[in-house]
Amino acid sequence: MEPLVSIRNLTVDFDLGRRVSRALRGVDLTIGRGEAVGLVGESGCGKSITWLGILGLLGGRAKVHGEAWLDGRNLVGAPVSELERVRGKRIALIFQDPSSSLNPVHRIGRQLTEALKLHRGLSGAEAKAEALRLLDRVGIPAARQRMNDYPHQLSGGMNQRVMIAMALAGEPDLLVADEPTTALDATIQAQILDLLREIREDSNMAMVLISHDLGVVAENTDRVAVMYAGRIVEQAPNNLLFERPRHPYTRGLLNALPDLEGPREPLTAIPGSVPEPWNHPAGCAFAPRCDHAHGACHSEIPSLARRDGHHLSACLRTEEMLGHMLDDVSDREPARSYA
């Protein structure tokens, strides 16, 4: 697949005055044209700042290093004017809390036509017609009336549809959906995910679906990257990742998922918590929480290595544990419930 965005060794440091906190510790990730990639990990592992960092949206206290290639240009360190042309037009973002992502004092229509003017040079009746078409496209009923509404008059789900319509205004090559359904209830969540899939089917737009929930990305992406404490620890096509998870962290996440078809079992959450950026372990960041950690795990940082085909995993003990882990997982056969 032809790569659209290639991220190499991306780091983000926050200058907190007294100390510098390294929140992203070298992320490598490539998104192909039209591809849907899931980015999964517990809250705080750096999923959002990966994309905010690339687009220069983290503010002055964040220092971003590394590479993020788009059309042969490195976005990291690019002038703001160049980033402004990428934002919304090449890479669009939608966020977790749609209702607070829209400006409360402007009408929906105005916020939508603003994007159309910016990216497509449309104004007046033309912009209005296109805005209506987009609202229609994202499944908003009575679009004409909604144009005159303010965000607080719409439900969270409707506001997320508006955000998606706004993202589509720029006809982007990549949509980064940052936990687009976390703030919404279950039925609405499914509707929004369906809408995103539908849009991708007829536009060849690539998508990064960020979620802390493996279940959400399972059905909506082609490939999954699992993040932990500022790094990607495992990356594989969906079927491989869900059937043969390699990294103990991924396995932990899978075990924490409710098994939809099997008998109800108590969820086994991963014990312990994510290390704070300023208290990062010397070796593998997951080692303190890992049942399989020993010796070198506490001193050596595992690199994201290709084990076979497209399956990448950053664990020193992958080979040793492979048999044991596969046995474990096949006991539960979780793959069927997500695929």
Partner: protein, 308 residues
């Protein structure tokens, strides 16, 4: 909308009534005007005659009812000192006060709001720190101290500007600057924090993510939202156009409402004090009403809520 205006209007009337009542009672209880106006060693017959003439020997509730009835007929009582309608005297002084408070208000807005916006947009920069330092100084220093410092520098030392009276336009400069400085400081601080609050909101980041250049984000998505709280404080400043210069007018002997109020209180000229307080209350209440309406106009959340 009609209901909104009616309820606010009713509240305004109640507020004014309370102010008038409070002023009336406190003034009657705090000393006998006869002693003040005629002096303490006036003959008892003269004092009795004076009290009779001004109705001071009647029970206080009787006096209050008479006063209210008169006010409702547009009669605000006569000045005990000058023997002519108190409101006329008060209104004669309004012009002088506005002559310094209006330019001061302009000064506050023209300096305070841009300074606050600039400081917020360059948070933690040298300019921001300087602005905030000046601002803190501006509103912690009492206005009479600032007035005295300005007089010391510009009148006594440099001899550029007169310090008291209102003979020429030059006399207005120091009172205006004194009033304007403190207000600009308050407004700068207020605007800055309103802007910072807005700039931290998700919709600002979302607007940037959409591809808007920073200037468009600021003018289209930050300023309109930050205007909402700022309008309140400006409205309050407009409400105090008449009452806000009492100290400064006394320091500079500027013959405005504040100056009149101080001397009327000292003289126990009841009708004058009451008329001034009524006027001040009226201004405050009107400004509040306007702020409420403006609020609804800028903030759709308020407008649509009150419509139901």
């Amino acid at each position: 909308m009609i209901r909104f205006i009616l309820s606010r209007g009713l509240r305004a009337v109640v507020t004014i009534f309370l102010v008038v009542t409070f002023a009336f009672i406190v003034l009657r209880l705090s000393g006998d005007p006869a002693m003040q106006i005629l002096s303490v060693d006036a003959p008892p017959e003269a004092i009795a005659a004076f009290r009779n003439e001004w109705g001071l020997n009647q029970p206080i509730w009787q006096q209050f009812l008479d006063y209210l009835l008169n006010v409702l007929h547009g009669n605000f009582g006569d000045s005990m000192r000058e023997g002519r309608p108190a409101m006329d005297i008060v209104l004669e002084h309004v012009g002088a006060t506005l002559m310094i408070t209006l330019p001061a208000l302009a000064l506050k807005i023209v300096i305070g709001i841009p300074a606050g916006i600039y400081a917020a947009l360059h948070r933690n920069s040298l300019a921001d720190r300087m602005t905030m330092m000046i601002s803190v100084a501006g509103f912690t220093v009492p206005s009479f101290v600032l007035a005295l410092v300005l007089v010391l520098i510009f009148s006594v030392h440099l001899g550029w500007l007169p310090s008291t009276g209102n003979a020429t336009w030059k006399h207005a400069i120091l009172p205006i600057v004194t009033l304007g400085t403190a207000g600009a400081a308050i407004l700068a601080r207020f605007t800055r924090s309103a802007m910072l609050e807005v700039l931290g909101q998700s919709y600002i980041r979302a607007a940037s993510a959409k591809g808007l250049i920073w200037r468009q984000v600021v003018t289209g998505h930050a300023l309109p939202n930050a205007a909402i709280p700022t309008v309140t404080i400006v409205g309050f400043m407009i409400g105090s156009l008449i009452a806000g210069a009492v100290v400064v007018e006394s320091v500079f002997s500027w013959p405005g409402i504040g100056y009149l109020l101080i001397s009327a209180v000292a003289n126990r000229d009841l009708a004058i004090v009451q008329s001034i307080l009524l006027l001040i209350a009226l201004c405050m209440v009107c400004a509040n009403l306007v702020v409420d309406l403006l609020y609804g106009w800028i903030d759709p959340r308020v407008r649509l809520r009150s419509a139901h």
